[in-house]
Symmetry: D2
Subunit: 103 residues, 4 copies
């Protein structure tokens, strides 16, 4: 399906240009951002919201957490790079982080 269609490097650069808090990998195959919250509780509430959306979409992040910090990396393994599914999950993460005071 089109959702899992891999974005070209050019497309990935264009799309990520509108999301300055996210970093496109050098190979343009994944995108990453780090969030800081007030404490672990807010960080884990953020992770719970992203987990619910990820499970619903059957598309899961790679993420690292220590205390109030959550590093998220998104890629679509089946497509071998970035797809609309990653951008959709990034949008969920942005909204959840904004609500929970993540920056």
């Amino acid at each position: 399906m089109s959702q899992a269609h891999k974005l070209s490097a050019e497309q990935a650069h264009e799309r990520l240009a509108a999301m300055p808090a996210w970093t496109l990998a050098d190979d343009a195959l994944s995108m990453a951002r780090s969030y800081q919250f007030a404490d672990f509780s807010a960080a884990f509430a953020f992770m719970t919201q992203v987990a619910l959306a990820a499970e619903k979409a059957n598309h899961h992040p790679e993420w690292f957490n220590v205390y109030n910090r959550v590093d998220v990396r998104l890629t679509t393994h089946d497509a071998g790079g970035l797809t609309e599914r990653d951008l959709a999950l990034a949008a969920v993460a942005e909204a959840a982080a904004r609500a929970l005071g993540g920056a």
Copy 2:
């Protein structure tokens, strides 16, 4: 300890007067409020934050959830009524709900 000292009915009425969204039970032994969120994801993120605080304090709510609604009831079983522990957990719930758009 003083934290688990049961509030008198008069004390409970005074304390709850400052929290108009919460309802004091007729017997002044418990307090309750209902929250509405945008969706289940926000409701469950709220529950996760309250769960973390509850486990930390070893003081847990009685709560009911259906979709975007969470009904919370607080009392201190050991004290047979309301205590500062309930007010502390209510404050956590209020802060978490505010962040997550609960009303």
Copy 3:
């Protein structure tokens, strides 16, 4: 869709006969069961697993929790009664509870 087709009272009785821990409501429009876990942590881990499955299926439980107890009630509001969606979520709950020591 057929998943949201309401079960007749007869069908509901037949299906629930194989799930003795669940109680069919007198009107055969909902099913309920109560779980007991070792502690709040196990109860909330159970709720998290059911929440993930519920969000994925866009079909959510009505549930009440106090400490180590979780009361679950399932019905399909759109269909005005029990459907296969409730039985599917009940199966998820049973599996999660079994893993987490719920009884």
Copy 4:
């Protein structure tokens, strides 16, 4: 307090010898283990249980998750190495993982 007393390299080796699934870092200042679960739901339920225990103890893991895999690394920043707090959280993680089918 003694709980936050840093274990010597010798002590760390002795304690970790009884936990063969965990790896002691070369500098003996942290311990790590990777868990595999059946799916993301079980992995995230595991993380929820560990999160509750971590918040209760005010001692949090460093962890990475992708789908059904959770890599946990434990150290006590305040003590500059491993302490009993890490071993206690490791025990919680082991129990939660065992219940949820992690290996």
